[in-house]
Symmetry: C3
Subunit: 349 residues, 3 copies
């Protein structure tokens, strides 16, 4: 696994129609705002209140060179809900590539079968390499220690929605971030996107040796935000509008850390001690719900600020907006192809 | 594998719109009748005489935690034939669940991507557990030694159709059931659904130690039916309107049994000896067609009562009706969204 | 692996509506011409200039008993682009078949779920066996050393298009074929289809012991064509309108061969030496792009005649035409169900 500092520093163009989506660096504030506005437009379709056929005839090639069931399902559902069609390739055996086929040939061939590709690959930089030979736009669904831009976008979108429900703007808010801040790709991307806003306070808590890389810290400060490293989860959480917790791989932990707080990274007791039981609670999932797993405890699941499933639900919405942007479809075209449905989607109690 | 008596005895509500389908216990006679009427309505669509778009925009999440290709294809085809879309997950690696994710989190997340879920899992009770956290209706496609309700429903539907073609009602009919009656989940569910009718005679034949569990026997008798245990396949088959044969796992058999009848559970010779070559012949499939496999012999395949492929064809129809019921679509809505097709479906000889 | 001469010599009817597609022997010139005319008709749909719904409600069952990701994606995309729906089964575990289920039962059951099946299987003759029990048309997507008819058809289609762009007819052209001519299923099928035309000159070069089987050679000569075996790639390529190179499995090569031409079967130096840098260059892909792999070198990729990706792009088009033919859809029905699309398919530079 490659730490952040050694990731390739390619410059990608701003995200938009006919563009690959490879990195969060492709967003400035207006670009992200346009994406989120489109996400708002398609929310009723994602929520099954209406049916849309705007992508009728469009084909998504879903290529997962490593398994990631929930990310795959989220992307595929997003495309299908807009009326498109999907072909799926999972657990790519690399049979062709094992026989010496170049990534160029593979990308050129399969891009001839689709209108957009979603690609996940275990190696940092490989998705960009794939995109370079593709004849159609490629969306990066995670390339190892590299990037996973749609995850960061859905995190920021969820944070905006949850703050908005409390009547708060994102500018000037206070976010606590807990967990593995060194290797956590998700956290780095989130920080970079959040840094597009104004005057954010970030309070950080990580186990020893898993601190935020200095260049990310510097990037965020340089944009005018405050970054406060705290000695405990309680200290980081105190006063935060939202708490973002990420899983720490067990083998990276020392004994003393896991004994703290009953073996949890974040739980109800910590929130209570920080006098912040109402905070917005986020996590990129999956979380390890076993006791002593040093993750987000399920004992927070009935707290009012729990937003972890809003994140996955919003992931569908943000990915719909990503596809619409790439394929040059605007809100008006969506409206013209949206209609009522004869089936009913509610679950009876 | 868990024998019937220790299966969880949860009480589920009657099957209908917005309900999970977890157990055959969710059916009374009117509920099953409504389902079968809907199945009749969609038969021309299943038979490719017309195209239906009533589920346009609806999403099925097909989650197979253990492989079962034909069951999966049947469910997915059923949904697609009604105009819906499908995402498939097979051979679920449980990558997330292996990392300690709870079944609650998995179910909550993936249910956000679909309008209905079909779930198969090797452990009894696990699908009901999954359903408890789902935000959309869940259809049980088999949970180990637990239930596989759509199989039992298609069996009863086929039996009704085949009896009907001979001008016979189900009430008062005579069904022979052969094979593993102890561990055969299919047989237990079939008996429970058939017991909703009146005055059925069941004649049973099973190898030693694979007899019907006493509580199922008691349940059927208590409903006013006759259950006659027979010492041989010939005796069980004699006079039966229909014969339902199920596979016996070889390791559960003793030597003497397999030597009987040329190593078959049921074959042409047995039917001839019982003077019943015209009986309706059913089997849940797959059957083991190798010699001496103690299963239904392929030498019956040209007999007029062979209905084993009618069962699989009807499976598609019954599953279409299951989805329509869950999503609150009635026959009228189906009719309004059904049209002619420009393509031709026949195979030239 | 079975050499050509021992393959089963079944006679199949001419390809057309409601027919299986099992072998290139199902084509005479008018049949192939009709297929290619239909391919021309659907080219704008394949190229994403328009959207077609002619196969609305039709179901393709895609059954890959061995993995072949690109062939599968090509067939599935072809069906989806025509408005149909697809169910996919890959890496078939044969769980049922391992339990003794006959190929007859498997084929009969799964054909009940679809309107067309595409089947790939590692054993020669197995797809025809499968087709014999199917209730719907079956398209052979490769059966081991047997046939892979859609590959040969897309090769001939591409050759016609590329010759046509140079104002040349196929009749009277000169094709060089290089590589494994003994075991290469692709080459045999290509030769048989090309032999339907008039006065072709074939120049052949193969490593020792991988020569064209005599019965294929005889078949082609008997049809009035010339077959010239050459001692080197340069000699074979000289004067050819098109060069078709196929991969040679390394273990079949001797040392001297691979040392020739810098370890390539065909490269820019060979073409330059033969004074034929403008030749049409074809390959069934995948190619091994590693140095010394004795395959088509990537150093030809910027030559004007490179047609290897036209082959894969055309594969989509030819497979669309195959499905339309099988399902009895003509060009007029396609036209009536083709429309504009609101999304944009271009990749921005």
């Amino acid at each position: 696994m490659m730490p952040f500092e050694s990731a390739p520093q390619t410059v990608f163009p701003l995200f938009g129609q006919g563009r690959h989506l490879l990195s969060v660096s492709q967003f400035d504030l207006p670009t992200m705002r346009r994406l989120f506005d489109l996400a708002d437009t398609v929310t009723p379709i994602a929520r099954r209140q209406a049916v849309c056929t705007v992508l009728d005839g469009a084909m998504l090639g879903s290529l997962f060179f490593e398994p990631s069931t929930r990310t795959r399902l989220s992307f595929e559902s997003a495309f299908l809900r807009l009326g498109g069609e999907v072909t799926t390739t999972t657990g790519f055996t690399f049979s062709s590539m094992a026989k010496g086929e170049s990534i160029h040939d593979t990308a050129r061939v399969v891009s001839g079968y689709s209108d957009v590709l979603v690609v996940r690959h275990p190696e940092a930089g490989s998705v960009a390499q794939f995109a370079a030979a593709s004849t159609v736009p490629v969306v990066n669904a995670g390339d190892g220690a590299g990037e996973h831009p749609s995850q960061a976008l859905l995190d920021v979108y969820t944070l905006e929605k949850e703050l908005g429900r409390r009547g708060r703007p994102v500018d000037g808010c206070h976010i606590a971030i807990l967990g593995d801040l060194k290797y956590g790709r998700t956290v780095h991307s989130l920080l970079k996107l959040m840094a597009l806003h104004e005057d954010i306070v970030f309070t950080l808590f990580s186990p020893p040796s898993l601190e935020l890389p200095p260049e990310i810290d510097a990037y965020v400060r340089q944009r005018g935000h405050r970054v406060l490293v705290q000695p405990s989860a309680v200290a980081a959480v105190a006063g935060a509008d939202a708490v973002y917790a990420t899983r720490v791989q067990r083998e990276r932990l020392t004994g003393e850390v896991t004994q703290a707080a009953g073996g949890d990274l974040l739980n109800r007791a910590i929130l209570a001690e920080a006098d912040n039981l109402d905070a917005i609670l986020m996590h990129p999932l999956p979380r390890d719900s076993r006791p002593d797993s040093f993750d987000l405890s399920p004992d927070v699941d009935d707290l009012p600020g729990l937003a972890i499933f809003d994140q996955t639900d919003n992931g569908l919405i943000v990915r719909m907006a990503i596809f619409l942007t790439v394929l040059g479809v605007d809100a008006e075209a969506v409206r013209l192809t949206t209609k009522q449905r004869p089936w009913k989607a509610s679950l009876q109690p």
